[in-house]
Amino acid sequence: MPPRASRRQLLGRALGVAVGAGAAGAAGFGVARATEPGPAATPAAPQHDPTADIVPFYGAHQAGIATPAQDRLAFAAFDVTTASVQDLQVLLGTWSAAAAQLTRGLPVGAVETDPQSPPIDTGEAEGLSAARLTITVGFGPSLFDQRFGLSAKRPAALADLPTLPGDGTLVPARSGGDLCVQACADDPTVAFHAIRNFARLARGKAVIRWSQLGFGRTSATSVGQQTERNLMGFKDGTRNIKAETGADLDGYVWVGAEGEQSWMRGGSYLVARRIRMLIESWDTDRLADQENVFGRFKTSGAPLTGKAESDTPDFAAEGADGRPVIPVGAHIRLAAPETNGGQKILRRGYSYTDGIDTATGLLDAGLFFIAYQKDPRAQFVPIQTRLAQHDNLNEYIRHTGSALFAVPPGLAAAGDWWGKALFG
């Protein structure tokens, strides 16, 4: 007899008792075992150094923004299905508690439960470390409609993103959402485990609207990190805002006293864009053109006006032919603060692939772009508008998903929860 029977086997076996009297003894054992109380529902002690690989969950700002980017992403947008404000608050409180557990490498609840109960935590991350897991939660514009009485709390900066040039390719089912959860970790199982358990804790209150896995961080968010390449083989996050640059974080990322909604102070705004790369076309483009599209050398990552990756691009430099060395439509020129009135954003995107586009057999792969900023109206929107109009890269990319979320400040300590100040 197997040590633990499935629900179906149990029902079948127990029902079998009444049919064949001869089998009663054996089946009776099965039933008795199944009804014995399980071991105490205490989460198993982690089998690793409990302090290793842990990013603190509580703090002035949510982790997962200025935190040095982890290797993996699992992201989900949720639609709230309950009509009850109280249910929504309990859900956010439950998520907050679950995040405090998970980011310490602990399960959300017991895996070894009473044999008649499903495990509280789904269990696939048992024995894994916290893997620098961060869980970052945000509120979409649609949460501030009439349902939960939050319309007066909607920040002006959470204005719906305008339709930008090229947005005709956006897929509604990959866009928007009332809530978002960004789980980043160095282990893909740990990141997915967080999203899966959040979805389970939300059952009956919220459902996943869309989700995205990401596998290679594409931006350096710390001076200690090297810039990884995107799927086009280029380094495209070199001039990103770094965790160590406090002035940039305060100037461009964290919402300060300028915001009219006090509950958002210390928070940030997340823009997510699923950007499919037409990589088969890109792969046949000649090297010189690829480099002109980005404005960087492919291998070294140096700007076309420099030698090393970290060299500052010289946008004024002209070649012997009198034309700019970094072309006018080069991606790094259009995205640069110099072109955008000094504005910067904190990029924290990941490469993705979702198999193939069944209509064409071509790979569905690209960049899941995530950016954090103080005010998308002054940052993402004008920058992306310029890019969408003039970027040489547009020939090789399609934006297929888009979402905006207000990411509230960090939680002070256990007992605080996401949205406490919003609902307060």
Binding site: L11, A40, Q86, T94, G415, W417
Partner: protein
């Protein structure tokens, strides 16, 4: 004897009737019964905390370090209200009051920063207040004073009664299954294709309502589920018989030719099922697991359109699975209401939301009573699945609770 058409309406009416009496019983303090308020953010409930020293009130503070601390541990027999606040115990989401192994009161969904309460009528004896997951998960409480009638006896009577009612339900449905299958068989021997199609749709629901019971006979020659309900790709083509073989003839080939033999075999098999189920007794946890399994069927094969791939009456099967599941829950409900009223309410609400959603797909346009699967839009299916999952998640807690009761 319940009549077919009235059954679904009657069982649903019985649910709402139960809700009213059970809540009233809670207020009138049936022994061991409890009611619990919804969780609230702490600041909203702070004003309601009681003056110290009320012997009928327990103030419980849950912390990660100290577990569930209670302001006093001795109580007089009678009503006791537990006012609970979770300060910072992130691993704790529920608090239970136990008498021996039995849960007699409970507050769920209580993350840090939230308050909640439940009220129970206690008789003399020892109790444990348990917050699983905290550092000191158990506190002993003592209740002294006049003893009253045993709640345990009540509960076990209710559970036994519920299991008996479920047996009656299953036996009744199997009875109708035999009758309607015989009618189907006769129509297969006639010449009226449309009448035979209607006869097929009449018989199907009775099987779907009790599917887990039939599926339990999956040993050797008694693999009745396979014989009755196999789809084309479940078995080697030569062995394929049963409902879906007949369905293919009626709805895809649109011919009665050769179907009579399958009809005869089907009658023999449902009669065999009737003989086997007549001998069965059910345990309360089996009702809970059976209810869960019926909903699994819904999300695995009905929402995908796999089950009725020729007739496309999947939503009729869907509704039948749900009704069977609701019936098992209704039979457990009087006992469950005493064990965990909050959970009972959550499940009842989720079932009623699911019923309401399903009702929107009813139509008189075809004899199944529901729109055909092909007319469902891609946006309909996730909605239906989410409504089923909203029942399943809380329902998965029931088996352990009725086992411990």
């Amino acid at each position: 004897m319940k009549t077919t058409s009235a059954l679904s309406a009657r069982s649903r009416a019985a649910f709402s009737g139960l809700a009213v009496t059970a809540l009233a019983a809670g207020a009138l303090t049936a022994c061991g019964s409890s009611k619990s308020a919804k969780s609230e953010p702490s600041q909203a409930a702070a004003a309601s905390s009681s003056p110290a020293g009320d012997p009928h009130k327990a103030v419980v503070t849950v912390t990660a370090a100290g577990g569930c601390a209670v302001d006093h541990t001795d109580f007089p027999a009678g009503q006791v209200t537990f006012d609970i606040s979770n300060k910072d115990a992130t691993a704790v989401s529920e608090i239970e009051l136990q008498s021996g192994q039995r849960i007699i009161g409970e507050k769920e969904n209580l993350p840090p920063g939230f308050n909640g309460s439940f009220t129970v009528a206690l008789e003399a004896g020892s109790y444990s207040l348990v917050c699983p997951g905290s550092g000191q998960p158990t506190r002993q409480l003592t209740v002294t004073g006049a003893a009253s009638t045993s709640a345990d006896a009540d509960l076990s009577t209710l559970l036994t009664q519920g299991a008996k009612e479920y047996k009656t339900y299953v036996d009744t449905q199997v009875g109708y299954l035999v009758q309607t299958t015989q009618a189907l068989d006769s129509s297969l021997k006639g010449a009226d294709l449309v009448a035979a199609q209607k006869a097929y749709m009449k018989a199907r629901p009775y099987y779907e309502k009790i599917e887990p019971v039939a599926e339990s006979f999956a040993v050797g020659n008694d693999d009745l589920d396979k014989a009755l309900d196999a789809r084309a790709d479940d078995v080697p083509p030569a062995e394929w018989a049963g409902f879906h073989r007949i369905e293919k003839g009626l709805f895809e080939d649109k011919s009665l030719a050769g179907l009579a033999a399958y009809g005869d075999a089907l009658v023999t098999d449902v009669q065999k099922l009737q003989g086997l189920t007549a001998a069965l007794e059910y345990k309360p946890f089996e009702l809970a697991n059976g209810a869960q399994e019926l909903l699994d069927e819904v999300s695995k094969t009905k929402v995908t359109g796999e089950e009725e791939r020729y007739s496309h009456i999947d939503l009729l099967d869907f509704q039948s699975n749900v009704e069977g599941s609701e019936q098992a829950f209704a039979d457990l409900r009087p006992a469950l209401q005493k064990i965990d009223p909050a959970l009972t309410g959550t499940i009842a609400d989720a079932f009623s939301a699911l019923d309401k959603l399903l009702d929107t797909y009813r139509t008189g346009d075809n004899p199944s009573g529901f729109v055909l699967y092909g007319t469902l839009k891609d946006t309909d299916k996730p909605k239906l699945v989410a409504a089923v999952k909203a029942v399943q998640e809380p329902l998965s807690q029931v088996a352990a609770k009725v086992t411990k009761a």
